[in-house]
């Protein structure tokens, strides 16, 4: 039985695609057959972060329209076994995604024995975001430590409660809060909301905190999901997140301002 997980946020640019790539890679690394789907029709991005943009032949919309089979459109990830990418279309408009069509793709992936289907949602609360969340069993709500992002996540949580198949059937989508681009220094100086404030406002179980990190940009420039960078703080935080998602108890890290050593303080 496949588990469908939407990565969503409301606000744009908070790290959904970065998270989807890391998450899907982390699941596949642990042996789960995983598909990651880019729902951002018109603005495809996931293939770049995954480093497979040059191997895109068919896309999600082609499959929905019956112009290609799932098998033809799924791209086998070059870094990680068990991982497959379904890229978004760059040219189509957002109406190309229909609920019925998305449903057929989900059924197809289920029949192919995928354990996890990760849906990278576009920003906003419009059609694309609805399509990405509609079939979800779980939602990873990505939030940055700032008021506007938290407010948008709150709206998304409201939509998850009402605009999903689970909700329509009287159930609940499982909610997980992932705080990204967390900067303990800026939290300490009061520039950003702290983790406790965010939890107090949203009241959703916390599944991870990913620090603001240079390594994310480096990873996306080289088309390698940051979770594969085992030495980076963001990569480790994403790895912790995947383990928690799979049921392990892992303490949270990267929440405190790093104490600089004497030499570091002297020379920056």
């Amino acid at each position: 039985m496949s588990r469908i997980v939407v990565v969503t946020s409301g606000k744009g640019g908070v790290g959904k695609t970065t998270t989807s790539a890391a998450f899907a890679t982390g699941l596949a690394m642990r042996g789960y057959k995983t598909a990651v789907i880019d729902f951002d029709v018109g603005l495809r991005n996931l293939d770049l972060i995954m480093g497979c943009e040059r191997r895109v032949v068919y896309d999600f919309v082609n499959v929905i329209n019956g112009e290609a089979s799932l098998k033809q459109a799924l791209i086998r990830d070059k870094h990680t076994e068990n991982l497959h990418v379904l890229p978004a279309s760059q040219t189509r408009d957002k109406d190309a995604l229909t609920q019925e069509g998305v449903g057929r793709v989900m059924d197809g992936l289920r029949d192919d024995g995928f354990d996890f289907i990760v849906c990278d949602s576009p920003a906003g609360i419009e059609r694309g975001a609805h399509m990405a969340m509609y079939f979800a069993d779980d939602a990873v709500v990505v939030t940055n430590p700032e008021v506007s992002s938290v407010r948008d996540s709150d709206r998304i949580l409201g939509l998850l409660q009402s605009k999903t198949q689970k909700a329509e059937q009287g159930g609940n989508v499982r909610e997980h809060l992932l705080i990204t681009r967390y900067s303990p220094t800026r939290v300490a100086s009061g520039e950003m909301l702290g983790m406790e404030d965010i939890l107090e406002i949203l009241a959703v179980p916390l599944i991870g905190v990913v620090p603001e990190s240079q390594s994310v940009l480096q990873a996306s420039n080289s088309g390698t999901p940051v979770i594969l960078d085992k030495t980076s703080d963001a990569g480790q935080a994403y790895d912790d997140f995947v383990r928690r998602f799979l049921g392990e108890t892992v303490p949270h890290r990267f929440l405190e301002v790093e104490k600089k050593g004497f030499l570091k303080r002297l020379f920056g």
Partner: protein
């Protein structure tokens, strides 16, 4: 000229209703400004409901965002909008409008409204909400009390014919006694509301003494005056 573009009338709820007669926001603004300036004390920070029933298909040409901005600009509080055609609902929601139930039993179906938790009203006198009421959500229960077991978020709205109880932080707007029941009350575990109103008498949180913020509190009506006091 602009005098007949808008018409404001008081309703049972004592929330003013702006009856739109034109989709031209500039005209609406002008008319609304005239009304306001005629009795400024009456309308300052006044909650306003927009009714589009006389617009019909002209609603398609209405710039919901601009309308909202104009209303805020003139010092009103846009509580919600109602009687708009299906086709326009998404636009209105995206512009931040709360959808209110049409007064007349017009044929506007409830689908396409923002995430509204639909109460089942058959003979019930109390509506219990077990989950947080999130930003953009509205709970509307004209037949009695609303009990929220968790928090309500900033940007959410609770409208009850009777009293409202919130067993968590109250951060959104709450309107109790919306049909004029002056005995309705609001109770909450942590008062952080944006707006509280009973039978149309409202207050914004900014005006509320700060020592009540974050405290368990009760709101009730004494004559025309809204009273707020700590509960314990």
């Amino acid at each position: 000229m602009s005098a007949d573009v808008v018409e404001i009338k008081g309703e049972m709820t004592l929330v003013s209703v702006l009856q739109l007669a034109s989709p031209d926001v500039a005209k609406v603004r002008q008319g609304l400004q005239q009304k306001r300036d005629s009795v400024p004390q009456l309308f300052v920070n006044s909650p306003l409901v927009v009714d589009c029933s006389s617009l019909g298909d002209a609603c398609q040409r209405l710039d919901f965002q601009a309308l909202r901005e104009a209303i805020v600009d003139l010092g009103f509080i846009p509580v919600g909008i109602r009687n708009i055609p299906d086709a326009c609902q998404e636009q209105a929601v995206l512009a931040g409008w709360a959808m209110l139930r049409p007064v007349r039993q017009s044929a506007i179906p409830r689908t396409g409204r923002p995430a509204v938790q639909e109460p089942v009203t058959a003979g019930k006198s109390i509506e219990v909400i077990e989950r947080p009421v999130r930003s953009g959500q509205q709970v509307y229960f004209p037949d009695g009390d609303i009990v929220v077991l968790q928090h309500t978020s900033a940007g959410s709205e609770i409208l009850a014919g009777g009293s409202v109880h919130v067993y968590g932080s109250l951060r959104g707007r709450v309107l109790a006694g919306i049909h004029g029941d002056t005995s309705a009350r609001i109770f909450c575990q942590k008062l952080e509301a944006e707006l509280v109103a009973i039978a149309g008498n409202y207050r914004l949180l900014d005006e509320i003494e700060t020592d009540l913020k974050g405290q368990p509190a009760m709101v009730w009506l004494e004559g025309e005056k809204l009273r707020i006091a700590p509960m314990f």
